[in-house]
Amino acid sequence: MAKTILNLKNLTIKFGGVTALNSVNLELKEGEILALIGPNGAGKTTVFNLITGVYKPTSGNVFLGDVAIDGKKRHHITKLGIARTFQNIRLFGDMTTLENVITGTDVRNKVGLIGSILGTPRSRREEKASIAKAHEILKFIGIDEYADRLAKNLPYGVQRRLEIARALGTEPKILLLDEPAAGFNPQEKVELAAIIKKIRDAGYTILLIEHDMSLIMGISDRVVVLDFGQKIADDLPSVVQNDPQVIAAYLGVPEDAS
């Protein structure tokens, strides 16, 4: 069994009267694609927000390896190797595609204000490396042809993919994808599934929120189901799919199992 790299322990968060997550435990194993599913408002995005430091848990902890990262600054968490995409796209609209990715890569760069002004050899080296890396990632994701377009003018599908590319730019150990296929047609979803697999095969660990069951069944190694802030299932896709509790809470009548 691969080692656990992200460990959520008894995570609880309350917003006023609403308990969005109730004592959730979740382990992410190195190299896997773990799907996080559940009805609307179950708390999936909230899990991402807790992992990335957007929210602080009411109780419980998030461990990256052995380090508790809840309470750490957001940019620091990114630096530690967790990157995410957003459910409603949050690109830097006035930057080009390439710049968006380079901005991601900057988290690994060291050169500061002074170095940039002086144009030290290191700064030039880093710049060069960043640009090369960004192009590489764009090619990897298959959107390099858009490199010089402003992000806000890109077609929706490309924007979603750019979100992934930007996150990859930060060289994360763990990639969090929040509904990457929303707004895609079936054909595009198939392409996306291939990309996600490719990313995993390149050595990343992926935590994926998605509502499209065929996509999930196709690529995930394991599925965790949340309902009303509680974990109700955590198993292989095929098992989860037939779990009556999951069917009742999430899938509805199994009309079309593919």
Partner: protein
């Protein structure tokens, strides 16, 4: 109410996003627009509701040219939209958001309550969250709110832009059922969907859009069985 687009052209700056499309939505119909990302579906809906200006062509509503009527007056005519990206008022509570749907209607209190009840029965989750700020809802909850809000206006024509986006499978089935139900009460519906399978099952007729042009118009059931369409829009591993 019959809605008709005649040779419609729409621009973003110099870019022509809609290149002369003609679309008819007859009273009482569900018509669906399908097409790949960037085909111009959202732009079409925005133009009908008045958020984008018509470059040339006409929008006929009930036989009357409304292409120069300002957006807020089109709402009074009976055109209501649940927009892409949902357009929730983030700082308003769920209830206030719903009330905004009735902004210009001088309905009696009882009618307001009646409509609220209707929306709450369709989406019980909204009732639970009536006092929560719209901006803090989950993605799917926001989608429900957007649809509910559009219904509050008691529209004659309802424009839905990817209503199933971000919804859980169970909820998706629900939404499409609701669309049919609303339609049965006499509301004309223009539906934009990526979930073409479901959309075509529910719609009477459909248009296929490609880069700003209508490339195909047919009865929905015909398209469901059209191999080319299945290939392009329903995914190869069709159901």
């Amino acid at each position: 109410m019959r809605l008709e687009l005649k040779d419609l052209h729409v621009h973003y700056g110099k870019i022509e996003a809609i290149k002369g499309i003609s679309v008819v939505v007859n009273e009482g119909e569900i018509v669906t627009l399908i097409g790949a990302n960037g085909a111009g579906k959202t732009t079409t809906l925005k133009t009908i509701s008045g958020l984008r200006k018509v470059s040339s062509g006409q929008i006929l509503f009930d036989g009357q040219d409304i292409s120069n009527v300002p957006a807020h007056e089109r709402v009074d005519l009976g055109i209501s939209q649940a927009p892409e990206g949902r357009g929730i008022f983030p700082g308003m509570t769920v209830l206030e958001n719903l009330e905004m749907g009735k902004f210009n209607r001088k309905d009696r209190k009882s009618e307001m309550d009646e409509d609220l009840d209707k929306v709450y029965t369709l989406f019980p989750r909204l009732k639970e969250r009536a006092t929560q700020a719209g901006g803090t809802l989950s993605g799917g909850e926001q989608q429900m709110l957007a649809i509910g809000r559009a219904l509050m206006a008691r529209p004659k024509v309802l424009l839905l832009d990817e209503p199933s986006m971000g919804l859980a499978p169970q909820m998706i089935a629900n939404i499409f059922r609701i669309i049919t139900e609303i339609n049965k009460t006499g509301v004309t519906i223009l539906l934009v969907e990526q979930n073409a399978q479901q959309a075509l099952q529910r719609a009477h007729r459909a248009y296929i859009l490609e880069t700003g042009n209508v490339v195909k118009e047919a009865k929905a059931s015909d398209l469901l069985n059209d191999p080319a369409v299945r290939e392009a829009y329903l995914g190869t591993g069709a159901h």
